[in-house]
Symmetry: D2
Subunit: 303 residues, 4 copies
Amino acid sequence: MDYQKILEDIYKEIIPFAKTGKQADYIPALAKVNPDQFGMCLETVSGEVFPFMQADTRFSIQSITKVFALAMCLSLKGENLWKRVGKEPSGTAFNSLVQLEVEKGIPRNPFINAGAIVLADILLTELDDPENEYLAFVRSLCGNDSVGYNMEVAFSEREKGYLNAAIANMLKYHGTIDNDIEDVLMFYFKMCSVEMNCRELARAFLSFTNSRVFYHSGYRLSSSQIKRMNAVMQTCGFYDEAGEFSYLVGLPGKSGVGGGIVAIYPMRYAVAVWSPRLNSKGNSVMGIKALELLTTATQESIF
Amino acid sequence: MDYQKILEDIYKEIIPFAKTGKQADYIPALAKVNPDQFGMCLETVSGEVFPFMQADTRFSIQSITKVFALAMCLSLKGENLWKRVGKEPSGTAFNSLVQLEVEKGIPRNPFINAGAIVLADILLTELDDPENEYLAFVRSLCGNDSVGYNMEVAFSEREKGYLNAAIANMLKYHGTIDNDIEDVLMFYFKMCSVEMNCRELARAFLSFTNSRVFYHSGYRLSSSQIKRMNAVMQTCGFYDEAGEFSYLVGLPGKSGVGGGIVAIYPMRYAVAVWSPRLNSKGNSVMGIKALELLTTATQESIF
Amino acid sequence: MDYQKILEDIYKEIIPFAKTGKQADYIPALAKVNPDQFGMCLETVSGEVFPFMQADTRFSIQSITKVFALAMCLSLKGENLWKRVGKEPSGTAFNSLVQLEVEKGIPRNPFINAGAIVLADILLTELDDPENEYLAFVRSLCGNDSVGYNMEVAFSEREKGYLNAAIANMLKYHGTIDNDIEDVLMFYFKMCSVEMNCRELARAFLSFTNSRVFYHSGYRLSSSQIKRMNAVMQTCGFYDEAGEFSYLVGLPGKSGVGGGIVAIYPMRYAVAVWSPRLNSKGNSVMGIKALELLTTATQESIF
Amino acid sequence: MDYQKILEDIYKEIIPFAKTGKQADYIPALAKVNPDQFGMCLETVSGEVFPFMQADTRFSIQSITKVFALAMCLSLKGENLWKRVGKEPSGTAFNSLVQLEVEKGIPRNPFINAGAIVLADILLTELDDPENEYLAFVRSLCGNDSVGYNMEVAFSEREKGYLNAAIANMLKYHGTIDNDIEDVLMFYFKMCSVEMNCRELARAFLSFTNSRVFYHSGYRLSSSQIKRMNAVMQTCGFYDEAGEFSYLVGLPGKSGVGGGIVAIYPMRYAVAVWSPRLNSKGNSVMGIKALELLTTATQESIF
């Protein structure tokens, strides 16, 4: 499969959408990003790498970080993890408090904000040095020690993060989180502030293709656990657009409000794409188009 | 892969759950079924068939019928279908009216009751002789012309079908269905009343494994459309247990309240399992267990 | 108090609102009413009557009928009535199915449609000849035997009554109603189709001012029961505008989608007003204005 | 009317309920109150005072404080107040976040917690010295300068106040509150921590009977504004038991989780009752019983 050629062809086809959508602008650090950027990178399990355009430009990975956090928590807690967070698609917007109230403080899944805040709480409890250990884990996954937090992003997210603070307070009220609310929120926002590029994300997600032993920075996942992580990505990875993504692209994956999307073709490849303009559901317009065309062109999807 | 042996081993392991759960009893015809039955059948794309225990006992397929109805509607209407029904997981129970009210009469997906009632309405409008044409389609899929409706089941479902009648009235109120409410409901209940056995269901779903041209009784689906149908099954096929099924089994599929479940391993096989006792979400207890053990034993899942 | 003069002054002040709002048009019989009509009538407990403008033009009383139905049911069942219907304000639109689903089929109060459908069911069960007995009761209240149903209205309401049919099916599903759904719906729509004018409505509601013994057509209510009926009107009589009406007018009352509103000043008077143009909450624009000005001018309210 | 005798008779009748219900125990200061206390005081507009049992024992007035806060805000902002808070009954529990999310940050009414937090925000903005000015206002209303905050209560409420913090964050997210979240919450909890006894509360609420000019500590309310405050108490004063209270008692009023209830008979009297044991809706069991018997015995209600 000539992926380099395919990526080029895809790009030509999605140019008409280059100005569609609007980047996230709720904090200055995201608002000031040039929205007219596009990067993509596909890495196969045999080690071939297909970078395209701005594949080496770092951006805020935001919610994509939730996959790394889930991997650590699953490694640490095993199936007990699911006592504190569900694994069903939410059917509502990613930040809905309604569901949390109705379901007595158990978030629907680890990829809505409430769920990821619970992951942050678990890591705070389980790790001696959460900030450094989390970074070490992500660095091991992508093989690049220069990956790090963007503290300016983290602090300005906290400053404007009223909705997430509301969620954290609700979780605390229901006893779902153990640590101090401020500590949990700051760690959550730090994890979201990690900056990576498409090349690094594709490499990091290669570990979730189940093609080799998962052992990073001391954390192990079994083949079965990796499959299950993919299942959660498949049903819950795109907020209330999970069905649409599954329908159009047919691969498990995870998106972030910074405009990044990573998808996995189990046993074959991982692919990351980035473009800051978002659709109304908060997913990258060009990113989704590119992945839809990729699986259409290659006829490679999980179905 | 020695599937026959695997099915036997699975059965030994799930015997402890043989008395767990309760069969559907909201209509006499379902209530009087002997709950202590179990059948299973796996058919591979190369034509090998692995029937097990009561693989030849017919039962009420109930919601599994929605997959056939979706296939016909997708063939008839193409992507326009999605103007009248969504494809996102519902996040709530299969019969929720709340979502329908909040979302102004557009059902979340074709596998919740509201969505399937819309499919029934479309077929009533599009087909000259809906009852016979639907049956012809199902018979073509499973290759058995003796498959038919159980009118006693259909009528007693209608008699007790207050919730579905409420849903149909809501759909009519919002203009989502065109035909007479009674006609739509009766056709919906007839489709649900179809009786098949595991052998027939496995055969019928083999068409959705994407391993050969889909052309049945005049209806075509492209390879891409079949993939997309699998995507909808994956995210929406198990009511509010879709995430759980995806997590445990890792295959697209569809369950019915009669105790049947069918799952698809794309390009490889289709497998049907049946046991009437249901869990609290309305899915067969032994059925889910059996499929979980199948993908664990074979390491064959889409992830 | 010179009520005739006050009514005249009020009318001058509300003329600017004469073209505001839109009459109900969901059935032909309501749609074809001339929207530019206005009538009002106040009757005191001492028997003085103050008719104004079209006080003698009959119109469809619609939801105002629910007060009469409640009176009959309360007389028949006493406090047991509240086992099947609540008495709390709904906080949502009058036809919300959400609340009914969440609260397992017990309508919030007798003045939302679901609640009044339960009243219709009770009357069907309790009365030998519901249609004639209901009419006899209403005629006794207003002292005019020419008051009757408008069958054209009732039948066209039923024809378009999908939402109410959805509600009735939900109630049946939850076991809140006993009779055949169609029978209940038709009786409900007949009760709503009663036509009265402001003079008749003021007279009828005089019975609820608690100024004399309530004994009509064989039905008795104690003074305490009448007070409680007023309490329910106060908190639930205006759909999700109950708080606003209480705030602006400060009297218990009930509105109908035909443009009528009746209000009660306990121990003093009953007042009916009618004008077909409705606000977004389904209450008569000029009607609410007129009553607000009435209690402002007279300083007569319950607070 | 021999109110003293009536209060005595009432007490005899409600003794059977003396052990029913449970006091609020979410903070130590409330949990440690002796639950077996009962006080009552009625003061007429002509100045007669009828204290009964522990009418002089102070307790935490909690949500009753919202009436005082509303009075100040209404005096300060007039009708503009209602741009930031509604006046419809909520139909759900007092602390529901669902409604706040659905209605985009505008609380349903000033007596649910969200609404009262908005009042706290308004006072913080409008007053130079909110804490002292609020206290001065309350002291003027009840005529006793020894009334004050209980800081221990306020601080422990804040410590456990996760749900209210969630609400405040939601309000901030929607732009409904202007001040720092912590400042708003602390002021809100301080207002709730005010301690008064039944004698003082009856006196304070006498000002809302509309029997004399309202001018306290520089704040004026017109007769019409007082009527409207009573209307809001009537429809919204008892969380999701407003309809029940209106039905049983037939007077506007306000309850608090400390076990106090105050009710108003316009132009006649104000009555306060206190007993710490609460029903499932958070209202004093003996308090509601006592008021129901009072209006039944005297036949004095607004209806």
